[in-house]
């Protein structure tokens, strides 16, 4: 009887280990941010895109209004794809689109807006990418829907018609 306990427990342990690793296979190893949780927007100081004047985040986002913060850059190809959708969204005028110019060359960024249009109510600059991190972003493009200083929805990657429809539903 005593001799049987050892192989039995070894099998059990291996079974448990197998189960844990098998479970682990199902989990995604790619970072998937938690988009469901509402978070307060961070407080930061930056510079205005066109004038170069200092701006405070508190002066950009007012209460009881919908804002879409869009992180963009002239060197980012998907930003080019999503730009027409931002232009369309701007036509409806129900949401204020705020731009965050991410690690960009200002001249290139200006040309980008000249070429494709400027949907942004206000643009501020993130020279070194640290403001984007304050927002919990990890790349471009990324968009945050904001209401009452809270992030109510986060869109990672370029916007498309489906997401624009969703935004339109949310802000109604």
């Amino acid at each position: 009887m005593k001799n049987k306990i050892l192989p039995f427990s070894v099998i059990i342990i291996f079974g448990i280990i197998f189960f844990i690793f098998y479970k682990g296979l199902e989990d995604s190893k790619i970072y998937t941010p938690d988009v469901s949780k509402k978070k307060e927007i961070p407080v930061f100081n930056s510079k205005e895109f066109f004038s170069g004047e200092n701006v405070k985040s508190l002066s950009i986002f007012e209460l009881d209004k919908f804002y879409l913060l869009n992180i963009w850059s002239s060197w980012c190809v998907p930003c080019r794809q999503e730009h027409p959708f931002l232009m369309n969204l701007n036509l409806d005028n129900e949401v204020n689109i705020i731009g965050m110019n991410y690690k960009d060359n200002l001249k290139n960024a200006e040309n980008f807006l000249k070429e494709l249009g400027n949907p942004y109510k206000e643009i501020f600059i993130d020279f070194d990418g640290t403001i984007a991190i304050e927002w919990g972003a990890y790349g471009v493009p990324e968009s945050f829907l904001i209401y009452n200083n809270e992030i109510i929805k986060k869109y990672i990657g370029p916007l498309n018609q489906e997401l624009v429809n969703e935004i339109n539903l949310l802000i109604k």
């Binding site: 342990i13 991190i133 990890y138």
Partner: protein, 121 residues
């Protein structure tokens, strides 16, 4: 005697380098413990991506502000969640990770103990 002096030198070396530990070491330690979220299998320290470079700047800034390691980790955890830390804390999602080695160690120990006892008998 030779071995003793060798160990003495090793210990001296380590303590002196620990004394020299400056902000750069602190920064390296922290960035090695943060996961680069846009590059798979790399720490912020190893990576040269846009995201990692910005994060390094922010870590420097936080160290300048006088935050402790724990506070800096907490800051990034708040922004990106537990996943950004390479050294996960004990909670309901990670307890298996923490107790499994201990369990295996105890089991292995028990097996060895049993074998040794058998030999004695």
């Amino acid at each position: 005697m030779k071995i003793l002096s060798f160990f003495l030198v090793v210990i001296l070396f380590y303590t002196s380098s620990a004394l020299k530990a400056n902000e750069l070491d602190k920064r390296n330690n922290i960035t090695k413990n943060l996961r680069c979220l846009v590059c798979q299998g790399q720490s912020i320290y190893d990576s040269d991506s846009e995201f990692a470079n910005s994060l390094k700047i922010l870590v420097d800034r936080k160290i300048d502000e006088g935050l402790t390691d724990a506070e800096i980790y907490e800051y990034f955890k708040n922004k990106y969640g537990e996943w950004i830390l390479y050294d996960p804390k004990l909670n309901k999602n990670t307890y298996i990770l923490w107790f499994m080695p201990l369990l295996i160690f105890l089991l292995g120990g028990a097996i060895i103990f049993k074998k040794l006892k058998k030999k004695h008998n």
